[in-house]
Symmetry: C2
Subunit: 203 residues, 2 copies
């Protein structure tokens, strides 16, 4: 029988670099499962259905919500985004580790539904670095940068609801930190339900 | 101001290989501090006072106990063994990570005194491997081997009181596991009391 699966909730403000950290993690540790969000927004160039998002019509999305098939969902800029429950639960029942990238509000819901979930907050090394990163994108108007900084500051106040904090100063270190956390959590006695039988066998 | 120091309690039955694991850990991660036990037993050949043990007379030991200077102590085979409190507390107040090798009974005391302590149980991969290891030492009489196996089995029942379980099958993996656990614990939000100021600075 496998050990219990493990759900890892990963959050962080815009500009924390959590997407880059995540892509690196799935390269380095392909045994980790990535929960793919469902959305009603149209695919952008290069985005692959089922990999980047599950792209669906609004009626499919709202049906999934009313059928209780979504772990959480939210509406941004006229589009729905959410986490389908089925695949996550099926991976967990196989004893696998599933990573869920989610915003701070969604994170709260998930922790309520999965009290054993491990939660990691990725932060930029400082607000001034975050500001530089947001400006470097170039595409953002001054007002947008200000707005994102205010949101980031607000989200940072939720760090205390998370189990772990990873400061994304060097990408490589941040990726190693997240993988280290996952490995350590897998060594927790509470996650190794067969721990005694592993050792004792037929005494 | 440094983050809070961290106390790591490491236990495991005789034959689990915890001493070898520990020596490797201090080689690989010299920033970790080793709590040195005090004992009234005579030094064995090659043992260095202050490194392997603090060797003292019985009167010094019992005075330390009655002065409240010991975190825990026990008597085995006519000799006292115990953990002096002062150095551990001073390292912790400097924000350092201190590793304490201790038996299962001592571990309970320490967890009561330091509820934030991280506890790791090192086990042999199986009882049959443990038996082989104990016999391989050669020096142990059959009766002694039986006695140690019975004690080990009893100690294994305490695993559920520990936070983490490391199976010492390959020495290298076991050492990596312990270092991984320590690194991950250092990333816990509760251990990074300055977490917000680290990031937010002068907003």
């Amino acid at each position: 029988m496998p050990n219990k699966g493990m759900l890892v909730v990963l959050s962080g403000p815009s500009g924390s670099g959590k997407d880059t950290v995540l892509s690196e993690i799935f390269c380095k540790a392909p045994e980790l499962k990535k929960s793919v969000s469902m959305t009603t927004r149209k695919p952008r160039e290069g985005e692959i259905d089922g990999v980047d998002y599950i792209f669906v019509d609004e009626s499919v999305f709202t049906d999934a919500v009313s059928d209780g098939k979504m772990l959480e969902y939210a509406r941004y800029g006229g589009n729905y985004y959410g986490t389908p429950k089925e695949r996550v639960d099926s991976w967990l029942s196989e004893g696998l580790t599933v990573i869920l990238k989610i915003d701070v509000q969604g994170g709260e819901n998930i922790r309520r539904l999965y009290p054993d979930a491990v939660s990691i907050f990725i932060t930029p090394p400082s607000m001034s670095v975050l500001e530089k990163r947001l400006r470097r994108r170039g595409s953002e108007a001054e007002e947008e940068v200000r707005k994102r900084l205010a949101i980031a500051l607000d989200e940072l106040k939720s760090i205390s609801d998370y189990d772990y904090m990873v400061i994304n100063d060097s990408l490589e270190d941040a990726v190693d930190d997240v993988i280290t956390i996952i490995k350590a959590e897998q060594l927790k006695v509470t996650r190794r339900k067969n721990y005694l039988s592993e050792v004792i066998e037929n005494v």
